[in-house]
Amino acid sequence: MGMTMTQKILAAHAGLESVAAGQLIRADLDMVLGNDITSPVAINEFEKAGFEKVFDREKISMVMDHFVPNKDIKAAQQCKQCRTFARKFDIKNYYDVGEMGIEHALLPEKGLVAAGELIIGADSHTCTYGALGAFSTGVGSTDMACGMATGQAWFKVPSAICFNLTGTLSEYVSGKDVILHIIGRIGVDGALYRSMEFRGDGVKNLTMDDRLCIANMAIEAGAKNGIFPVDEVTEEYMKGRVDRPYVVYEADADAEYDQVIDIDLSSILPTVSFPHLPENTRTIDQVGDVKIDQVVIGSCTNGRLSDMKAAAEILKGKKVHRDVRAIIIPATQAVYKESMRLGYLDIFIDAGCIVSTPTCGPCLGGYMGILAEGERCVATTNRNFVGRMGHTASEVYLAGPAVAAASAVTGKISSPKEVL
């Protein structure tokens, strides 16, 4: 029986000819990632276990992004602990204020993850790197500690759902709408324990930013990983970023999938997830009259240059509604700088938005945009659970950057067509 793309990468990293769904394996890691809230727990475990060295100083990344620049004294203490550890073990890829960006935008941008590699990260959205044809998955801090010490992790080999993509996206529709549409169809546990493998003629019509966004939210369908085949778009993205050899894996022609789901990209409309689960999706024509208090455009899901561009095109020459606070957060310093060069930041500020340094901040209710009781936010982030962005009686509506920007102008959830 043939293997899926994910199974091939896992087999190669476990030193096995083949693996099958359900098999427990121990595999070699190409990168181990942590951030400022998960690394301290890992460091405590690492030290408690008495490890005295890391497996490879170049294959560990620590990114201070969640509560950074330090939101309070406790957050400052946690970053200090990470910084001290990184210096002690000479961790090559340690990113702090000034260089840092949101981890899942930063690692691909810096070429720290590449096709065919196996990456674990103590952050659930580590599944993002599947966009590059890598196997990457979120784990906890103990896995991170063991990974840093041994360079290995245990895995249960997943089965997969194949998403057969065809067609091309319509205007104002992006990768975010695709993944929200899929989660709306299969549910927040629709891919539980499994891989989501994206295949088909439509893949070539998706930009790398679209793919990163789609793979990023695979976890929101319960998946272990989301993965795209490697094509010219991938090769072009990695050129100039990845300077080491990488391996391109393809699913076997006779790979077995639990299910094949056909997705016609041209039929997808701008999509919004209503509180309090990402699966509560409605297309933009079905949202009704939902007044809002805040808009957040950013995060590891939608803080990349194409997201800034989509928002800027809508906000150009417009004003943010007087009842709305609009918060724009470019995900990395490079995205920030390029947005400045292209004039997007002027557009945002002239429209009445604020532009923040890269941070996960409001996405997880950390800081930089906490909601009060009864308030509503349209966010390009990835979760709308109870209390996710603040008060337990506040609400988060997930959308792509075009809908978020249009909503900032009108003061209610709106289609980009309403403002252009």
Binding site: L24, I37, V41, E45, K48, D143, C146, D189, F385
Partner: protein, 160 residues
């Protein structure tokens, strides 16, 4: 390896943001995390939970963030075992890695009521509802996982 205690019952899709809200993730202190466990969906949890109690939930328990703070907060609060219809995968691995026992059993999850007295035999996978005088069969852990849990978590299990 066994567990026994009163059941604390919750629904489907209990996410890690309600198990331990992110506003408390500026600490890794286990006791402090436990003092906020479940506070956004069950404000009274920390006062009513007793050592050894059992948490019972529906589908996709622990979905969302990879924060290990979630199983840590549950374990530190005194919970000896979580029974759910299914677990979100990162929570599943984190619970095993820190040595918090978890079992998937749809029948037990549907049938057990809040406050029922429940016991679990991890070797056989048999869950007993002493209040309702019923038993349910869960899949016992595979040896690989039993080894990690009995050694007190992944780090202890990999040490030579």
């Amino acid at each position: 390896m066994n567990a026994q205690g009163f059941a604390h019952k919750y629904g489907d899709n209990v996410d890690t943001d309600v198990i331990i809200p992110a506003r408390h993730l500026n600490t890794a202190d286990h006791k402090e995390l436990a003092s906020h466990c479940m506070e956004d969906i069950d404000a009274g949890f920390k006062d009513k939970v007793k050592e050894g109690d059992i948490m019972v939930a529906g589908f996709n328990f622990g979905c969302g963030s990879s924060r290990e703070h979630a199983p840590i907060a549950i374990k530190e609060s005194g919970i000896s075992c979580v029974i759910a219809k299914t677990f979100a995968r990162i929570f599943y691995r984190n619970a095993i890695n820190i040595g918090l026992a978890i079992l998937e059993c749809e029948e037990a999850s549907s049938d057990i009521s809040d406050g029922d007295q429940v016991s679990v035999n991890f070797d056989t996978g048999v869950i007993t509802n002493e209040t309702k005088n019923k038993t349910y069969q869960a899949q016992p852990f595979p040896d690989f996982i039993k080894d990690i849990i009995t050694k007190g978590g992944l780090l202890n299990s990999i040490q030579k």
